[in-house]
Each structure stands twice: as C-alpha cells, then as structure tokens.
C-alpha cells in the first residue's frame, strides 16, 4: 500500500500566483465592461448542475497531463531508489574489463594510499565477488545455484551494517557465512547449519551459518541469493590467496550522496593506468551508480511520454467536448445574442463574453483536473507496482512523487488547451446574423469581412499543410510527411466543397484517408527511407485519421442512410419515431459529428489497448514453438561440465522424465562482418551429441527460419548443412547482417550465414557445428571460457522435481534451471494485466464523453420542451417520446462506438502486419464487453433526463418558450 503522498507546499505558491494572474486579467477585462462580466458569470449561477458537468468534462486534459507527470516522476523515484538500493555505498567500482578477473591485493593498498585521504572519499574496501557460486545446506541437503558470494572486510561497517534477523552464538571451528533471507529460505537453512559454498571448477569450503540478515546489503547487488563471508574466507574458497577482484570506493555523503564520482573516477583511471602498466592488469574505475542515475533521466521522460500519448485521446475527447458545449451554448443564446447585437453590442464583445465565461470554466477545470490527476496516478502506480513487482526487481514506492513545477505545467497546459478551443469555437458566434438570431432560425450568414477572414484561415491552413509536407520531406520523419499529405488533401477537399457544395467530396476524402492510413505496409512502400519519430505518436495519428475517414464517409451521407432505413420500415408509427430522432441528428450535423468523434476516440483508445495486449499474448502463445523451439527447460552453467549428458542420464528420474535433451557448448566471442571494423559480442552455440539420450537438436528443434539460403529446400536441410559444414552458421537476427554474409569470429575464423531464425528467446546467438567450435576454442587456448547450456523437453508435471535434481547433481557447476513455460506464463500474465490497466486508464475518456452527453441531453430536453408538448398533443405516448430521445442518443453513441472499433481493428491489423511476434486477433468478447458497457453507461446517464422529458406536462410544454 502506498502511503498518503506528501506534497511540497510550493505547489500552492505556484498555483496561487497563476490563479491570481488569471483572475487579475479576468477582473480587468470585466471592470471595463461590467455588463459583459455579469453576463459571463450568470450561467454559473443559473445552471449550477450544467456548470458542474462542463467542469467535469473539461478537467480531463489536466488530469491526463498531471497523472502522466506524477506516474513518470514516481517512476523516476522508484528507479532511483532501486539504483540507490542496488549500488548502495558502491560509488566507484574498480575491476578488470574482462569481468571480475582477480588481481593482486597490493593494488588495493596502492589505491588506498593514494586516495584514502581524499575528502570526497569515505572508505575504500577490497572485495571478492562472484555471481557463479553455489550453496548447499548439509542439514537439509538442499542446493541453490548461481548465488552471489561476497568476500569483504567485516570490520568495515559501511557495506555490512546488516540487520540481523536470526543468528547463531555458539563457537565453531568453521568460518562464518551470513545469508540474506531469500537464500536462507531457498536452502531451508537455520543459523548453525553447515553450509558448503562452492565455486565451479575450484571446489568447496564448509561454513557455519552465523546469521540470517535482512536484504539490506549496500554494496552493489540486487536482493536475493546473497552470501557474505570474510575476505580471507573468500580468498580460501576461490584459491586466490592475497588476491581480490574488486575495489569498492564509497564517497562521503551516504548512499544518496552528492555526485562527483565521474570526475573522481577519471582521476583514479589515470592512477590505474600506471598500475595496469606495472602489474599487467586492465583495471578501470567505474562510477556505475552515478552513470545509472544519469541514464534514468531519459527513461523518466519516456514513461511520461508514454502516458501522455495514452492520454492524448482523452485530451482530444475533452477538446471535442468543449466544441460541443460552445456550439450548444451558442444555439441556446442565439436569440438573446441577436437582441444584444440589435441594441448595439459589438461582435467582438460577444466573443469576449463567451471567452470570459470559458476562461472561468477552463480555470476551475484545469485546477480541479490537475488535482484529480493525483488520485488517478496513485491508483495507477499502485496497480503498476502490483503487476510488475514480481517480474521486475524494483523497490515499491512508499509514496507518490509530486513535482510542483509539473503540476503547474499541467494546470497551465489544460487551461491553455481549453481556452484556445473555446476561442476558436466562439469565433463561430461572431458570424451571427442579427435578424436570423432574433428569429431563432439557427442560420449563420457570413458578412464580406468574415468571408475574408475565412479565406485567410484557408490560406493559413494551406501554408501549414505545405510546411508539414516540406518539413516531412526534409527531415524524413514519417509522422510529418503523412500529416502534410493528409492536411493538403483536406485542403483540396474543402476547396472543391466550397465550389461544388457537394458532400460527396468528403466521402471521397474519407475513402482516401481509409486507404492511406489503413492499408497495411503502404507507408513502407511509399516512403521506404522515412522513419517514425515515435511509433506511439504514429499509432495515435493513424487512429485520429482512421476515425476521421469513417466519419467523413458516414456523416455527409446520413440522409441517404436514413432514407435507406426508412424504406425498410412500413409501420407509420415506427417511422415517425425514426424520422424524428434522425431528423434531430442530421439537423445538428456539426454537433453530431463532434459527439460521434468523441465516442469513437474513447472506444478506439480503450479497444486498441485491449487489442494490443491480446495480440502480444496470442502471438506469444501461438508462436510458443518458435520461442521455445519445442523445449520447456533451459539449463545453464558458468563452466564447461564434463560428462554432462552421462551424469544426467544416470539419474533415473531425469532419464524417465526427459523426452529431448539438447546440450550445447558455449563461448562468448567477438564478431566482425567481412573484416569490417564493426565488431559485436555474440554467443556461440554448438550442439553436442546427446547420447545416451535419444534424438538430435538438428532434427528435433522447432525454431522457424525467417530466411534461409536458396541452396536449401527445407529448414531441416539447413540444420543438417550446419552439422556437416564447419564454415556455415545459423544466427538469430543480428542487427543488419544479411543472409549469406561472411562473419569473422574472434578475428580468425570465418563462417557463412545460411539461415536466420527469428525467435525472441535468443539474442545475438550464432549456431555453429561442434567441429567449428573446437577450432575456434583452440585458437584462444586457455583463455577461452567455455560454458555449458542445454535445452530439454521434460514431463511438465515433473518440472519442479527435475529442476531440484539437476541443481543437486550439478551444484558444483552452479547449474541454473529455467522453467521456460513458467517464464512465458509470467510474461503473458504481466502483459495481460498491464494492458488491462491501460484499458481502464483509457476509459477515463468515457467520463468526458458522458459529461458531454449529459450536457447535450440536459440542453436538448429544455430546448425541445415545446416540441415534446406538441408531439404529445398529436398523440405520441410518453413511451414513444422516450424512444425518440433514446434512439437519437443510441444512434450517436453506437455509431461512435462502432467507428472507434472499426478504426481499432484496422490499425491493429496494420500493426500486426509487419510484426512477426504480434498475431492479429479479433477479441470479440472484449469488443462486445466494450460496446455493451459503454452503451449501458450512456443509456443509464441519459435515461433520467429523457424519462423526465417524456413526462413533460403537455399543456405547460406547448406554451413553453426559453
């Protein structure tokens, strides 16, 4: 549970200044024209419920922005805490560039003499560290492999200020070992137990478990499976008398101390250069903690960006809502605005009045929304921690992190977005004709001056379109070039429409958009040299234009659709309901379009998240053979295990429980492509003869090739060729290395790539034959460190039992066992939970839509009171009036939902088209759930005002005027 957040008081300072400035400007504006000021304020007093709904609808932008910031800032805190916990007092680590190779203890003395008096340094400690050890509890006979063993001077309390949970006080001849709780639990060890610590290829030593300690070691390691012994004991265990393999430098200022380790490391490296020359070592000083802390800054930015992108559709929904609100308000006040104009009010004043009112709404909404973002992000973070805590070893936050400046930015951004949209929406009001407004005809006529302004807008839009196009061509960014083309085609359609006044032009544009944004792989073909700046922005852009495309196709042709439906209905009564509801829809085309778009965006954002999660999981599940190769267990030892297959086979449980056994020899190598200077590190996998187990990796594995050489007809012939020819190699997708290239291993052995397997289970892996492996190994002599791995298919019911047996038999080789299916299952579970959370996050947009719908229905019921009365006097029943209203709402919302769903289906198909992991699936149940849930919520929200409207007293209603 996350504690209640502690907010820095300066947030109030920032917000207060901002609010004060806006209010001063607002009052100054009002004081010059008190009538305007009063008119702007009256709606707040008169329509309290509606004001509340408008604010609910408007605050979402600020909520999404502030929650993105808080999630990102908290993630930053979590990552930093994890880094502080991981490195602890290990500010600078001195070790060999060949990993943790041993070096003479006198080097430590030399460093100590040089630097111990440096005021920046608190302590310098010699250390032995290995991550390849094993432990074996002699009492319980339980092994644990690949544990971290630390040999350190216990006299120094900086690194070893452990919290002792249980301890053993009696004396013993054996040296002491301290264990963290996780390792002790795995071994079932109690203080006083005899523990064998094993170093593969070296041997073992017996220890007495002196204490079980909390996982609070502060010297550079993740929690779990850690054993601590004295430096002397470690030297004995590793047979490295007078040697160590790490020096840890702790700087002053504690774990979260002031930075400066990078510059200090540079100075130390100068010293180390002399030492390296003298001792023939290759030691370097590494300020790992400070480097890690620096690199997380970009990660925080990425997390904020991710949630910003996720929130964009809700922000967009909010902006659409503002448009709807102001169109509705303009309609409502049309007559009174006409009268105001008639008695001398300027158009500019009308806009001012609207903007003034809008500023008030926007200001309240921005502040409320930003603070609503706090509980939203709180819930999100708590769920994210739950989802990822088991998969990622991160420290759960004790509170959420609120950066006042970021909250201020959220308020400001939300406010600015709202005010900008309000100003644009209010511009329409200035076009009002006095006569038409007084008559309440809802007809907007443009004066000559306004037409000129419209042409200026057109010209600006054209310039913006061309700028986007040219910038796109110049920068080669896919987002910008596609935006340029889309804007330019919209400009052309608007121009044609202006001349022809034929709505079909938008339908044609819609079809073009659908093709341009929906046809898979089109961008790759059209713009092969362009790349996306950020693929998530690209998806968002695609979503917007796919929705726009479908709206363009449907809404200009709504009359034809209605006529087609009407032709199917023979009953006059049913048709009267349909005619009325559809006439209201088609009569308010701009508002209907905005409402449909609003529901479409909400549905799109929710469904695309759900579909993405489903596609990943389906892809992983259906490509399980490709990922696992048909195996369900992976074994890895840091050393070459002699007699690996025989020792395994000799155990009857292993023998009976194993279907396939594919052992490998492995080695880390450097790889160059065709003698180029480009070098990378890869792992060689050479399949070994599995005898006495049956089968053969070359014929048994289920990995699939993404490509293989034309010389081979079948995948199995590729594997067979690898076995036969020592100069062939099969690789996992190495970055930009094509098929049939020659690669040079360790600068002296060339192989040709005959096949590329596409599995996420391996990365940077080269499969070669056993013969080739031995040749490469012989070049390196003793310095090559060969190790052993194996892929197995075992009886899944016995997998835990077999894991235990493998670890026990090969405890001296520190063999670690991975349950592949469990890892995949963990991945799919985390993935499903994560996307479900994102789905819920996206549903916040629904709050906006529902608020919008509430405003529309409230308004419509008042506006249509007289009409409802008239319909009742003509013989329509209360039930039929309710049907008219609900049918209208249903059409708008269901059309929006279906458009959003269609856009999600198209876009997710596009995403999966070029991705070998994602598998296109249509989650019908999720689609049905989203449709039903959204629709039910909409109906529930609108049912009450619609029901009240249907119950309108007829006599009162027929005489009603607003």
């Amino acid at each position: 549970m996350i504690a209640v957040p502690v907010i820095n008081l300066s947030i109030y300072f920032y917000s207060a200044i901002f609010i004060a400035i806006v209010f001063v400007l607002f009052l100054l504006g009002g004081s010059r024209n008190k009538t305007l000021f009063k008119l702007a304020l009256r709606s707040f007093k008169k329509h309290k419920k509606r004001t509340a709904l408008i604010i609910v609808g408007l605050f979402i932008s600020s909520t999404m922005i502030s929650s993105s910031f808080i999630i990102g800032d908290t993630a930053h805190t979590v990552i930093n805490s994890t880094i502080y916990s991981y490195y602890g007092y290990n500010d600078i680590s001195i070790y060999s560039s060949n990993g943790y190779s041993f070096f003479n203890y006198s080097i430590f003395k030399s460093i100590y003499q040089n630097y111990s008096n440096n005021p920046q340094i608190e302590t310098i400690n010699p250390l032995i560290y290995t991550s390849n050890g094993s432990a074996y509890d002699l009492t319980n006979k339980i092994p644990q492999t690949q544990i971290n063993i630390f040999g350190l001077p216990f006299t120094n309390r900086t690194l070893t200020s452990f919290t002792y949970l249980k301890w053993y006080n009696n004396s013993s001849n054996l040296p002491s070992v301290y264990m963290d709780l996780i390792l002790a639990s795995t071994l079932g060890a109690s203080p006083g137990n005899k523990i064998a610590l094993i170093i593969p290829r070296i041997g073992y030593k017996l220890f007495i478990l002196r204490a079980i300690v909390s996982d609070n070691y502060a010297g550079g390691v993740m929690n779990g499976d850690n054993a601590f012994i004295s430096l002397g004991s470690a030297q004995n265990l590793t047979s490295r008398q007078d040697q160590i393999n790490e020096i840890v430098v702790t700087m002053t200022g504690g774990i979260g101390g002031k930075p400066g380790s990078i510059s200090l490391s540079n100075r130390m490296n100068a010293t180390l250069a002399e030492i390296n020359a003298f001792y023939k070592t290759d030691l370097s000083a590494n300020p790992l903690k400070e480097e890690a802390l620096t690199s997380t800054a970009s990660l925080t930015g990425q997390i904020i960006t991710l949630f910003m992108v996720l929130g964009l559709s809700s922000v967009l929904t909010g902006l659409l809502l503002i448009g709807i609100i102001f169109i509705t308000m303009a309609e409502e006040r049309e007559q009174e605005m006409g009268i105001m104009r008639a008695i001398g009010m300027k158009k500019r004043d009308l806009i001012k009045m609207f903007v003034m009112e809008g500023v008030l709404y926007a200001l309240i909404a921005a502040v409320v929304g930003t603070f609503v973002g706090i509980p939203v992000s709180y819930v999100m973070i708590e769920d994210l921690v739950k989802i990822f805590s088991s998969a990622l070893n991160v420290i759960a936050p004790s509170s959420i992190t609120i950066v006042p400046a970021h909250l201020f930015v959220s308020i400001l951004t939300g406010f600015t977005l709202s005010v900008l949209t309000i100003t644009i929406a209010s511009w329409r009001i200035s076009n009002i004709s006095i006569i038409n407004a007084i008559k309440g005809t809802h007809i907007i006529e443009k004066s000559k001056k306004q037409s000129i302004i419209t042409y200026i807008w057109y010209a600006l839009f054209f310039i913006a379109s061309c700028t986007a196009l040219i910038t796109g061509i110049d920068t080669k960014y896919l987002e910008i070039i596609t935006l340029g083309i889309t804007m330019l085609s919209l400009f052309m359609a608007m121009t044609v429409y202006k001349i022809t006044r034929n709505g079909v032009v938008f339908a044609v544009l819609g079809i073009f958009y659908l093709y341009f944004w929906g046809y898979p792989d089109l961008f790759n073909n059209l713009f092969p040299k362009y790349r996306a700046l950020n693929s998530s922005y690209m998806f968002f852009e695609s979503g917007i234009f796919l929705i726009t495309a479908i709206i363009f196709i449907i809404l200009p042709n709504i009359k034809q659709i209605i006529s087609a439906i009407a032709r199917l209905i023979k009953s006059g009564k049913r048709l009267s309901i349909l005619l009325l509801s559809f006439s209201y829809i088609s009569n308010n085309r701009s508002r209907t379009s905005l409402s449909v778009a609003m529901f479409a965006f909400v549905t799109f954002s929710v469904l695309i998240s759900a579909m993405f999660g489903a596609m990943v999981n389906s892809g992983v599940t259906s490509h399980i053979n490709n990922i696992t190769g048909g195996y369900n267990m992976f074994l890895a030892s840091p050393v070459e295990i002699k007699n690996f297959t025989y020792d395994s086979y000799n155990n009857t449980t292993i023998r009976s429980g194993t279907d396939l056994f594919a052992p490998f020899m492995n080695m880390m190598v450097s790889v160059n492509v065709d003698h180029s200077n480009r070098s990378m590190s890869d792992t060689l996998f050479a399949p070994l003869d599995p005898y006495p187990f049956t089968g053969n990796f070359f014929s048994d594995n289920k990995y699939t090739f993404s490509r293989y050489s034309d010389n081979f007809k079948t995948p199995s012939s590729v594997w067979n060729a690898l076995n036969d020819n020592p100069h062939y190699a099969i690789v996992t997708a190495l970055p930009s290395i094509p098929l049939n290239s020659i690669i040079i291993i360790n600068r002296n052995y060339s192989v040709k790539i005959i096949g590329i397997i596409n599995t996420p289970a391996f990365s940077n892996t080269i499969f070669i034959s056993n013969r080739s492996f031995n040749v490469i190994r012989s070049f390196n002599g003793r310095s090559s460190s060969v190790y052993t791995t194996a892929l197995l298919r075992v009886n899944s019911a016995q997998i835990d039992q077999l894991s235990f047996i493998f670890k026990k038999i090969f405890v001296n080789d520190s063999l670690v066992v991975y349950n592949i299916n469990a890892l995949i299952s963990q991945f799919t579970t985390v993935n499903a939970e994560f996307f479900q959370l994102i789905e819920i996050y996206m549903y916040t947009g629904l709050v906006v839509s529902i608020a919008g719908l509430g405003i529309i229905v409230f308004r419509e019921v008042i506006k249509r009171k007289q009409e409802i009365g008239m319909l009742r006097s003509m013989g329509m029943t209360e039930k039929e009036i309710l049907k008219v209203l609900l049918m209208e709402i249903s059409f708008t919302s269901i059309t929006g939902i279906l458009i959003g769903e269609a856009a999600s289906l198209i876009l997710s198909y596009d995403i999966s088209y070029n991705n070998s992991i994602l598998e296109y699936v249509i989650p019908w149940i999720t689609i049905l759930e989203i449709t039903i849930i959204t629709y039910i919520i909409i109906i529930l929200v609108t049912l009450l005002p619609a029901y009240k409207a249907s119950k309108t007293a007829i006599a009162e209603a027929v005489k009603y005027t607003e």
Partner: protein, 234 residues
C-alpha cells in the same frame, strides 16, 4: 352509437385546481357545458379568466381535478396515457399561436407526422399531406423547414397538420396571435370553410373580439366560470 347531431363534448361540473407553493388556485370552477358536432365555438375572456385552462382540460392536454368529461361519447378521465394519446391522435387537432411546428422536419414531414403517429401507411400519409398542402396553396413549401417560412405559411402548415387525421375537434389557441391582419383573415376564413364544408367542430380561444366573430357560438369566461354562453352574430 352516436348520431350526427350528438354532443361531441359533454362536460359536467369540471373543476381544475392548481396546487401552487402556498395556496390552491382554482382555475376552472364547476363548468358544465355541451358542444355539438360541427359547432364553431369561440372562448373569450380577459387574461387569467381560465380560457386556456379550459382548452387544455377539454382537449385532454391537462387533467381535470373533478367532474366528468365525455368527448365523442368517451369518458376520457378513465383512459390511461396510451389510450388517451391514441384518442387525441385520431379525434383531435391543435393549432397554437406559436405554430409549434417541429423545426427539424420539413413542412411536408410536419403534416405527415400525425398520420404516422396514428399508424397510417407511409404512402397514404405522404399523398394526404401533399393534398392538404396543395389545398392550402402552400405546396411549394413542402420541402422547406419552418425557419424558412413566414408566420402565415407556418400557421397554414399547422392547420394542415391539425386536420390531417380528419379529427372530430380542432382546438385553436390564439391562432392569429402572431400574424398580420390580412393573414389572420385568411386563416380564419380557412377555419370557417373547414367548419362549414367538412362539419369540423372548432373550438377557438381568443381575446380578440374581431376573431371571435367568425364563430357561431361565443362563450365568455371570467375567473374560471362561464360568464355567458350565447350564439355570436357574424
């Protein structure tokens, strides 16, 4: 079974009381009257006399507090909402001062609508609506919305709509209140013709004595009671 000359409205001791915040307002007091089929009745009275309440209660737009009301021989007080709505749809037409046309429908659709509500076939509704608009000399306005029509034309469309289902009674509440005198004359002559030629019962509420002159019978109201009920001279 009703005969041709039967009473189309029979009201016995009708009372209407409005419950206001602190007091009860008696809008109609113990009204008893009969209106015969084919009569053209004008209801007059000063503001607040109860003439509009009378129209609302007699036409079933509003509930009565007590009394008995028979329209075309049916006790309307015993009807539920659905049957009362169906009854209104077939038996009554309404025209109001503000025309009350549905703004999102065209003139033709406005006239078609009552017939659709009465569940007449789509084909019949359309041909009848066109015939009515033609008869009223406003066929050219069929495809136009109310906002595109003058007040007089809107009221003509409203009359077409009101008579589209061949109702037994046409209720007219200040039908000429918003239109000029020439158009008012034209509208009133139309109503007289409908009454004369089609034996349509018309009950007209007005405060204008010149308009009331078109009716054959004049009922004067004051303070919720019928002050006088006599045949008016043309």
């Amino acid at each position: 079974m009703f005969k041709v000359n039967d009473d189309v409205i029979s009201a016995i001791n009708i009372t209407k009381v409005y419950n206001m915040a602190d007091e009860k307002v008696i809008a109609l007091k113990d009204i008893t009257l009969k209106i015969k089929r084919g009569e053209f009745v004008a209801i007059m009275g000063p503001s607040g006399s109860g003439k509009t309440t009378f129209l609302n209660c007699m036409s079933t737009l509003d509930d009565i507090t007590s009394g008995k009301l028979y329209i075309d021989g049916k006790d309307v007080d015993t009807m539920n909402d659905a049957s009362r709505s169906a009854f209104r749809s077939i038996k009554m037409g309404f025209i109001f001062q503000n025309y009350n046309l549905i703004p999102v429908l065209t003139a033709l659709e406005n006239v078609e609508l009552p017939m659709m509500i009465a569940n007449k076939s789509v084909k019949y509704s359309k041909s009848r609506a066109l015939a009515l608009l033609n008869k009223m000399m406003i066929a050219t306005a069929a495809g136009r919305r109310p906002s595109e029509l003058s007040g007089g034309m809107q009221q003509k469309v409203a009359i077409c709509r009101a008579i589209s289902n061949n109702p037994a009674i046409l209720w007219a509440d200040e039908p000429t209140g918003n239109i000029d005198s020439d158009m008012s004359k034209e509208i009133m002559e139309m109503l007289v013709n409908l009454n004369k030629n089609e034996h349509l019962t018309i009950i007209l509420v007005t405060h204008d004595a010149n308009i009331a002159k078109y009716a054959k019978r004049l009922i004067k109201m004051r303070d919720g009671i019928i002050e006088s009920d006599s045949s008016a001279s043309n």
